[in-house]
């Protein structure tokens, strides 16, 4: 898993790529989410467009980001969910929990 962050229109964008399968590398991800809250970023987009593969532990990462941000009064959107991730979201019925958008810009606009 690789992780990059950037800012656009007051929104923090977390770009994930590679294989998302939880485990030790999730620490960096959790830290990033905590930093977003610490820096008072109310809006976060997770860009999943470059994710090659994700398992249920990867879904666990998204879920914990969602609950952590929500508890801190922040809003999370997903952008560019791949077919594979979309099917995982459908099976776990998290598609009703996560607000997914086909583009990062679309996700950013949906905050307004």
């Amino acid at each position: 898993m690789k992780l990059k962050t950037r800012e656009q229109s007051d929104v923090m964008i977390v770009e994930l790529s590679g294989k998302i399968m939880g485990g030790p590398e999730s620490v960096q991800f959790h830290d990033t989410i905590k930093q977003a809250i610490g820096a008072n970023r109310k809006r976060v987009v997770i860009d999943l467009g470059e994710v090659e593969w994700m398992n249920s532990s990867g879904i666990g990462l998204l879920v914990s980001a969602y609950t952590t941000l929500k508890n801190a009064g922040c809003d999370l959107k997903l952008a560019r969910t791949t077919d594979k991730i979309q099917s995982l979201l459908v099976i776990t019925k998290l598609n009703s929990v996560f607000d997914s958008h086909s583009s990062v810009d679309g996700a950013i606009q949906s905050f307004n």
Binding site: G22, S26, H30, N55, S56, S57, I59, G60, L61, V63, S64, T67, T68, I91, T92, K93, L94, S96, V97
Partner: protein, 485 residues
Amino acid sequence: MADSARTPDLTDASSVSPFESKLEELARLSVELLRQLRSNAIDPKSAAEYKALAAEVASVELAAELQQELERERDENAILQTVSLKLSSAGELRDVLRVILESLAQVVEFDAAGIFVYDREFGQIEVDMLSGYEAAQRKKLYEKFQESVRSGEGIVATVVLTGRPIYVPDVRTDSRYVEVRPSTHSEIAVPIAVRGELIGAFNLESDHVDNFSERDRKTLQTFASHAGVALERARADRMRQHTRRIEEELALARRIHSTFLPKTMPLFQPYDLGGMNFPSSEVGGDYFDFVPITESDLGVIMSDVAGHGVAAALLMANFRACILIESRAHYAIRTILSRVNEFLVETNPPDSFVTAFYGVLNRERHILTYSNAGHNPPLLLRKGETPRQLSAGGPILGVFPGVEYEEAHVQLQAGDLLVFYTDGVTEAENSGGEQFGVERLSDAAKRYATLPAYEIARRISHDVHEFQAQDENQDDLTLSIVKYE
């Protein structure tokens, strides 16, 4: 043995050695020469005599120094041999380090000493062996280290960070020095390295200015390399113990997990039941069960905990206990899942969850009532119809409080086949990165539909294993079959 005439004996004042009488003669001559020099009348005879005598005295001194050096080397070698012997008998690290310090004290004079290990990951220096520091000074030492590693000050911290030895003949003139013992006047510290990797430092302090010779520094470095071997061995021992403990924990978790799974399937005619679980190399988080509730009702559970290892096994234990208790309480299925969800939300770590299918099969009316909490939808295979996926329900368990679950019914017919599975089946990948998928699963189930339930599960599992690329990232594989005969 050295010739006693050429060895200065400075301990016995009562007897005057030939060397001492020569020194006395030399002193007398030098006074005489000085007097002649002042009166500008140097007697060449006295000068020649003085030169000869001085040369003789110098050679005796040199020989004596060489002799001392040789003796010290012999002592050192003997001591190092003792240290090596101690090292080779696998003792406690602290005992070995103590022997190293005590042995060093026999060849180098110092007033305080310490062996320090640097934890690069946490940027901390750990003190492994100290000598010559009072209790209050030890406390100060611990505090100073954390500061000095951060600020890059302090002799030991500098050695640990740079890997280069430092000798400070007078601590009052070195800005890097951080005081711990007020009486210290000189300090020396050398790095401890193992196979080129810097792991710590060995330092000596003295109450005298410029106490440590070049030779002392070399000796200290030799002892430091022995300390390195001891520390490395202790670290390897700790790693081994740690690995063993983890393996024991995993073995225990595996045993716990295997006790969750049904050993034999209940008899529930006219339904034939079969199921199996192949745990991954780690401890798995899959759980399936057939739970007789009443004479006519059978609970069917298929579930998966996100993650592996001991944490997943414990969460699975939690889920299992909870659903078994709730399923016997005769609540509606959607209520059972809501209650299990609430319980898991309270007890779960935030990034773990359970996906579960729970259904109750009534063998008089042949109705399966179910709710699916984010689990891979089981397949209902009926002759001449496309496979149906049983997905009605709600989201995963253990994350969102207050979630409501939908409940659905399905009327079964003779010849129907229900296939329950976890993602280890459909997400098994071949070497081309292609997944086994739902279609291959339903095709395989249809192919084996005439066989007994257990045999269907076994054949499908076999197909999945054949399909799957041989890598280590294999998930748990769990399948169960309900066949209406």
